[in-house]
């Protein structure tokens, strides 16, 4: 039997958490759905005491969001960044983790280095990356300084590129973002995959060695399948994080989310939602629900695929 006095105690202990969750988590869920269905809702209009404003109920907000060119830019940027960075960072992390796992000499120091970007402020380090790619424009035809990355390219005999300055190309902006996001995503993936590798029985590798299996074959036929639960985990969390990309772009491009003269070119879905907050709540809510829907569907697909692939 549950003792009633204890029941009362349990609810007392839980009360602060429950009150806060009701206000800041549960209510927003319902309210977001409510606002998304109120055509053209915006708080300024709703708060105006002199106008008795009725908002029609319907799916107009969703329609408007999807037709809004800015939103489509955001969607395109988000999906592109996701689709490019998740495979690259996963593959690199896999190779690095396998490499780290196979060596003895220098293993610890290298591990420490690879984990370093883990605990960073993505805005602050984004500013470092921005500086690395930035050109300092002077009076002459050639910029005073083309930035350290361009210096490296020139050392390799490649022409310098306008990465982030005014007049830069879209693909150049995208490359900068991909480099930064991959760099930022590596440590977590390496950490998880290395942990997974250390959990694999060494005898599988000895058995493969006895059979003279080539290194690459061991990687694809033994390591990857045995690591598949961890790989699925980093891919799924990678996609979820990727769809919520925002602060890394602010880190590189600042609040304007684009190079000078071309603001919001690199805007993302989260950026879109944030800019609509306090102005166009109806649209913002619809966008947030679309984002949630995309993340949900992608996660489900990932889970379904990984269930098939990781089953053993």
């Amino acid at each position: 039997m549950v003792d009633t006095r204890k029941q009362w105690k349990a609810w007392l202990y839980l009360s602060p958490a429950i009150v806060l969750l009701l206000v800041f988590t549960v209510w927003p869920i319902f309210n977001t759905i409510r606002l998304s269905l109120m055509e053209g809702y915006n708080s300024t209009m709703a708060a105006n005491p002199y106008v008795d404003h009725e908002f029609a109920i319907g799916l107009g907000n969703f329609k408007r969001v999807l037709e809004y060119p800015n939103f489509l830019t955001c969607l395109k940027n988000t999906v592109l960044l996701c689709v490019i960075t998740v495979p690259i960072s996963t593959l690199l992390a896999l190779l690095i983790a396998v490499g780290l796992h196979s060596i003895k000499f220098l293993q610890k120091p290298l591990q420490t280095i690879f984990f370093m970007p883990y605990v960073t402020n993505s805005i602050a380090i984004g500013m470092v990356f921005a500086a690395m790619f930035n050109m300092v424009i002077g009076g002459s035809t050639r910029p005073d300084s083309v930035g350290i990355i361009n210096n490296l390219l020139e050392a390799l005999g490649i022409d310098y590129v306008n990465w982030t300055n005014a007049g830069s190309k879209y693909w150049a902006n995208l490359v900068v973002m991909v480099v930064y996001i991959v760099w930022n995503a590596l440590p977590f993936k390496i950490l998880v995959l290395l942990g997974g590798l250390q959990g694999i029985n060494k005898q599988y590798y000895e058995a493969a060695r006895v059979d003279g299996t080539k290194k690459s074959r061991v990687l694809w036929k033994i390591t990857v399948p045995l690591l598949s639960p961890m790989l699925a985990y980093v891919i799924i969390t990678g996609f979820i994080g990727g769809f919520k990309e925002y602060s890394s772009i602010v880190g590189i491009f600042g609040d304007t989310m684009g190079p000078a003269g071309n603001p919001y070119r690199m805007d993302t879905m989260v950026g879109f939602i944030y800019r609509a907050i306090g102005k166009q709540e109806g649209t913002a809510s619809a966008a947030a629900l679309i984002l949630f829907g995309i993340i949900f569907v992608v996660t489900m697909i990932n889970l379904a695929v990984s269930k098939k692939k990781t089953h053993y």
């Binding site: 204890k6 958490a17 209510w27 927003p28 869920i29 977001t32 883990y118 919520k244 602010v250 989260v270």
Partner: protein, 310 residues
């Protein structure tokens, strides 16, 4: 079939691996070469990647010590020719950046929200781990369910809510909405569950009160998790950007990351003075490095299970 006959096996063994003295030496040499090649390749790859990973940090530090003129040279230097420590001095004195105000705000918000969050988390986790009440499992499942929803979805309404409460541009708005983390409750509940129930029953037999038991037994045993939560929460305050920018971007309540991104660090001509900016970035990054060096294992413990970055 070959397996059934001794001769056949011997024959096959001879053909499949032909062995004579010269062949043997060749094979041994070949395998040594391939082993060396493999190791070289592995180390080259790892060292190259390590260089890429570490380079931004290195760039940040050398740039922060350069003079503006040296930074802007068309042929870059990989090490400062003369150290300009004034860049760092400037971080603390810059009128635009206001380091000490930002620092005070951030530490205050961090400490208060960490303490309150720990209390709420400990009591909730204790209720879920040790007490029996109706609807416990359903409630816990519902809490876990909210973890799937992206935080941006809450922000829209929360912005309205805090506005209605009149909390805009205050410390309260930075602290209260994020006090409860379902993930922390989950983490600590798991940790509490590992403590054998017999200890609780024994304490009850001795007439120990819940609170005393919690304080004397559960908290010491769950200390590593509590430390993880503290570090993650403090780092959260240090790194938070989006919410503060929306609700408390006034100079009195601004947090450090917003201050860093917002400050201009420009010279007289309006061009960004990168060495000064890099010095500020380095100063803001320093506490995180210290955490990384000394408290890494606590972060790893929490984060590898969540996929959430500090």
């Amino acid at each position: 079939m070959a397996f059934k006959k001794k001769e056949a096996t011997a024959d096959l063994a001879d053909s499949s691996v032909v062995m004579n003295a010269r062949n043997l030496q060749q094979t041994a040499a070949r395998q040594r070469i391939s082993k060396i090649c493999g190791k070289t390749l592995t180390y080259t790859f790892l060292l190259l990647m390590a260089l890429i990973v570490i380079f931004p940090f290195y760039f940040m530090i050398i740039s922060s010590l350069k003079t503006t003129e040296e930074y802007r040279r068309s042929v870059p230097t990989l090490f400062p020719m003369e150290f300009k420590f004034e860049n760092y001095l400037n971080v603390f004195t810059d009128k635009d950046f206001q380091f000490w105000v930002l620092f005070r705000n951030t530490v205050f918000v961090g400490v208060v929200s960490t303490l309150l969050s720990l209390v709420i988390t400990v009591f909730s986790a204790f209720a879920f781990a040790r007490l029996e009440f109706k609807g416990k499992n359903a409630l816990f499942a519902a809490l876990l369910g909210t973890m799937m929803i992206p935080g941006e979805l809450f922000t829209i309404t929360n912005y309205q809510t805090v506005n209605d409460f009149g909390w805009m541009n205050s410390y309260t708005v930075l602290i209260v909405p994020f006090l409860v983390s379902v993930f922390y409750i989950y983490l600590l509940k798991q940790n509490f569950m590992q403590i054998p129930n017999e200890l609780y029953l024994a304490a009850k037999v001795d007439g120990t009160s819940d609170l005393k038991y919690l304080w004397k037994v559960m908290i010491p045993l769950a200390l590593p998790s509590l430390i993880s939560i503290t570090i993650l929460k403090m780092m959260g305050a240090w790194n938070s950007y989006m919410w503060p920018r929306l609700v408390a971007n006034d100079s009195a309540h601004k947090l450090i990351t917003n201050g860093l991104r917002g400050a201009a660090f420009v010279d007289e001509l309006g061009n960004t003075d990168y060495p000064r900016q890099m010095a500020a970035v380095a100063v803001v990054s320093l506490p995180l490095f210290l955490v990384f060096i000394f408290l890494r294992k606590y972060i790893m413990k929490g984060v590898s299970r969540s996929g959430i970055k500090g």
